[in-house]
Symmetry: C2
Subunit: 453 residues, 2 copies
C-alpha cells in the first residue's frame, strides 16, 4: 500500500509561504472591490453539463472536466452505443456534471436563477478556482483562480470609469507600475465599416501592431496581402499612424470615422471614460490603443487590458463591456461590464520584483523556546497574555535541543524568540531575543507586548 | 437554447449576504489559527484516485466524485470489459482522478511529498471545499467546506492544550456558549481491558450515555443484552456512575483502571490537559465525557467534541490525536493531533442566535445618489476622497428615479446616502442622510469622512 503519491498534472500544492503571498494578492483585490461596493458571491464547483456545454466553442467543450455519474452510469445504454466507443457522445451519457471552466457562465446562470432576489445594478465579485483540461505548460495550469468583478444591469459608463479606478488602485497598492490600455469595440467596428472590410478587424489590428517593428511600408504590404483593397489601405493611413496623446488620437479618429455612427459612438464613449479618469487623476498611465483586440466575439463596447511596465509578461488584467450576458439562459437585456485580475501572473510579477510587504508574508512573530515542563507552564501563561493582545505567537511543543528549536524559528522566519529559565521565572519576566540583531533583554510580559506591537 | 438552468443537487449558490457571513466565520477561525502559529496550505481539488481510494472504507470509495479522463477514455478496453457494464470496475478505467473527499488524506499526501521542505512540528491549517456523493438532505451537502488545523510531528500534549484554547477563543469571539467535551481513547481501551471485552467499547459508551434517560438498571440490562458478562458489568459500575468534577472523575478512573497501563496513561494525559487548561483559564466549560467515542478506528489519544449550549444541533467541532498519518503513503512515524470546525453548522447556530456582528455583514457604507452628469462628476471626486480614507462607498451608476436609487440603498442595507444638487456643488459640500434616523445635514468632504470613520 506504500505507493509513492503524486498529484494530477497541471495542478499545484501551495506551501505556507505561497499561500501567504496568494492571500496578500486576493485580500488586496478583495479590499479594493469592497471599497467600490462590490459584493462577493460563490457558485458550486460543479455545474450541470447542460449549463456549460456549447458556451466555450467546440474546443472549450473538450476542455471541460466531466464528472462521472454516481451509481450505475451504464443504465439505458445499448450494446451498440457502448461498442461505438464514441468518447464524446458517451461522455454525455456517463456524465451530467462538469467542473466550472470560468466564472462568467456560472455568474450568468446565477443571475438568471436568482433574478428575483437581486437588486440591479448588481455589482458582484467572485474569487474561485476554475478547471480546464488544457495541455499543462509553464504558467498554464489545469486548476487556477480567477478574480472577476462585474456590474450587470447598468449601461452607465461610470462603471467603466470605476473599474479603471479599481485597476489603478490595486496595482498602486501592489507597487506594480502598469500601463492600462483601453480600446472600444465600436471604434474597431467603425474602422471596418468605413473601409468596407468588416471581417478584417483582426488582420488590421495585427498589422498596425507591427508598425514600430517593420515600418509603414511593410504594414501596408501585409494589409494588401490579407486581401484589403488599395482604397481601404489609403483610408487606413491616419489610423495606422495614429499618434500623440489620447485627446489627439480621439480627435483624429473623430475625423476619420465621421461617416460611421457606430465608430463615433465608440469615440464618444472613450472620450467620456478618459476625460473623467483624467479629472479624477489616476496614478498609472492609461492609453488608448487600437491594437487591443481581445474578446472581439464577446465585447461590445470598452475593452481593457493591463500591462506590467517592469516585467516581460502577457496582460495581467483584462475586461470589457458585453451585451446580453444571460440570453443563452432565456433572460435577455442583461448587459454589463467586467474585469478579471490574473492572480497567477500577478504572483509571478510580485515575486520577480520582490514586492511582497514583509508583514504580508510573515506569520508567527514570537516563539517561546521550551526548556521543560515547568518553564513551558510559565511560558503558556505569558503566551495567553501575548495572544490576547493580538500577537501571533507559539511555543515549541517539545523540550527538544536548543539547536532544533532555533532552527524551527529560522525556517519559519520568526523574528523574535522568548527564553524562559529559572531566573526569568523568579523575576516573572522573559528574555526576548531579536533574531536579526541577536540583541537580548529581559522584559515583563507587558513590555513584551509593547515591544512586539 | 433557452434552457432553464439549475445546479447539481446537494450544491449551493452563496448570495452576497451569505458570503459575508461565511467570510466572517472563516476569517475568525483563520485569525485565531494565526495567533497560534498555524500556517495555511492548499491542495488541488482533484487528487489521483490512487491517493483517495481505499482510505475511506468501501462506502467512502463509492462516495468519491470521479473525473472522466480527457481524450479517448475507451482505449485499451476490450468489448467484453465494456459489455460487462461493471460500473465500479470500469470507473477505474475511465477515471484516474477524483475530487477530494476530506482534507486529511490530501494533507497526508502533502506531508509525504513535501517532507524535505517541511520543518516539523508542522502546524498547518486548511480551509477548502470537499465533495461527497452522499444522498443530499437537510444540512448535508455534496460540496461543503472543512476548516482543519493539525500539528504533526510532535507528541507533546501542549498541542492538545493549544487546540482547546483555539476552540475556546473561536467560540468566545463568535459569542456562542459551548461545552467542550474531552475523552481519551486510551481510557476507553483501559476500560475494555480491565473488563476483558475489548470489542465492546462502542456498546459500553452507548449504554452509559443513556444513564440519565433510562436509569442504572436499564443500562445494566442493556449491557447484559449486548453479551457483556455479569462480572464485567460489576466492574463497570463506578464508570457508569462516574460523576462530579473532572478531578473527581479522574480520581475514580485512576482506581478503577489501576490494573491497565494503557488506561492509566489515558488518565494521566487527560489530567495534564485539563489541569493546564484550568491554570490558563478557559472562558467555556470543558468536561471529561467517557461517552464521547468519535473516530475510534482513527484516534489514539485525546478525543474532543464541541456542543453548542443554546441550540439543538450535533457537534460543531471535533478532533483528536492520531498515530501514523502518512503510513499508507510509505512514511511512518508521523503522528499528530487536529481539530475541524464545522462551518455549515456554525453558520446555522450564528443565524439562529442572531450573533453576526453588524460590521461583519454590512458592505457598502455610503451611496451617492445620481442626479445627472454634472452632479455625478462632482460626486466622483468626493467618492475618490472618501474611498482613499478607506470608506466603502459607491455611486448609483445611472441617473434613475430617486425611488429606484433609494430602493437600491435599502436592499443593500447601506446606512448612509449622499445627495448632491446645485446647492451642494456651489458650496463644495454634500448632504448626508442617515438612512436609519432619516436625519440630514450638509457636510464638507472632510466632515463626511470623519462622520463615517
Amino acid at each position: 500500500m506504500a505507493a509513492k503519491p503524486s498529484i494530477p498534472k497541471g495542478t499545484r500544492d501551495f506551501s505556507p509561504v505561497e499561500m501567504a503571498k496568494r492571500n496578500y494578492i486576493f485580500n488586496t483585490i478583495r479590499e479594493v472591490y469592497h471599497l467600490y461596493g462590490f459584493q462577493q458571491i460563490e457558485t458550486p464547483s460543479m455545474e450541470m453539463l447542460s449549463t456549460l456545454m456549447g458556451k466555450y466553442g467546440e474546443e472549450g467543450d473538450k476542455l471541460l472536466f466531466k464528472i462521472q455519474n454516481s451509481g450505475d452510469y451504464f443504465s439505458g445504454l445499448t450494446d451498440e452505443e457502448l461498442l461505438s466507443r464514441n468518447a464524446v457522445k458517451l461522455a454525455s451519457k456517463f456524465c451530467e456534471k462538469g467542473l466550472r471552466y470560468d466564472l462568467t457562465v456560472p455568474f450568468a446562470r446565477y443571475v438568471v436563477m436568482h433574478r428575483d432576489e437581486i437588486t440591479f445594478p448588481f455589482k458582484r465579485y467572485q474569487i474561485q478556482p476554475v478547471w480546464r483540461a488544457d495541455r499543462p505548460q509553464k504558467g498554464r495550469y489545469r486548476e487556477f483562480y480567477q478574480c472577476d468583478a462585474d456590474v450587470v444591469g447598468s449601461d452607465s459608463l461610470l462603471n467603466e470609469v470605476e473599474l479603471m479606478q479599481i485597476v489603478d488602485t490595486v496595482f498602486t497598492r501592489f507597487g506594480i507600475r502598469v500601463c492600462i490600455k483601453i480600446n472600444n469595440r465600436k471604434i474597431l467596428s467603425g474602422i471596418a465599416e468605413i473601409i468596407g472590410e468588416s471581417d478584417k478587424i483582426v488582420d488590421i489590428t495585427v498589422a498596425i501592431d507591427k508598425l514600430d517593428k517593420i515600418g509603414l511600408d511593410n504594414v501596408n504590404a501585409e494589409l494588401k496581402e490579407k486581401g484589403i483593397s488599395d482604397e481601404a489601405i489609403a483610408k487606413l493611413q491616419p489610423i495606422i499612424l495614429l499618434n500623440g496623446s489620447n485627446e489627439e488620437k480621439l480627435a483624429t479618429l473623430k475625423e476619420v470615422l465621421a461617416a460611421s455612427e457606430t465608430g463615433l459612438k465608440g469615440v464618444e464613449e472613450s472620450e467620456f471614460i478618459l476625460s473623467t479618469l483624467k479629472s479624477l487623476g489616476l496614478k498609472n498611465e492609461i492609453e488608448l490603443d487600437l491594437t487591443l483586440a481581445r474578446g472581439l466575439n464577446y465585447y461590445t463596447g470598452a475593452i481593457f487590458e493591463v500591462k506590467a511596465l517592469d516585467v516581460q509578461i502577457g496582460s495581467i488584467t483584462g475586461g470589457g463591456r458585453y451585451d446580453n450576458l444571460t440570453g443563452v439562459f432565456g433572460l435577455s437585456g442583461v448587459s454589463g461590464v467586467g474585469i478579471s485580475f490574473g492572480a497567477d501572473r500577478i504572483f509571478d510579477v510580485l515575486n520577480q520584483l520582490d514586492l511582497y510587504p514583509k508583514e504580508a508574508v510573515n506569520g508567527t512573530q514570537l516563539l517561546f523556546i521550551n526548556f521543560g515542563e515547568k518553564e513551558a507552564a510559565f511560558s503558556m501563561n505569558v503566551l495567553a497574555e501575548v495572544r490576547a493582545a493580538g500577537i501571533r505567537a507559539e511555543i515549541f511543543p517539545d523540550a527538544s535541543k536548543m539547536k532544533k528549536q532555533m532552527g524551527y524559528a529560522n525556517s519559519k522566519a520568526i523574528p523574535f524568540v522568548a527564553l524562559v529559565g529559572e531566573n526569568e521565572m523568579n523575576e516573572g519576566k522573559v528574555t526576548l531575543k531579536n533574531m536579526e540583531t541577536g540583541e537580548q533583554k529581559m522584559v515583563t510580559p507587558q513590555e513584551l507586548v509593547s515591544e512586539l506591537k
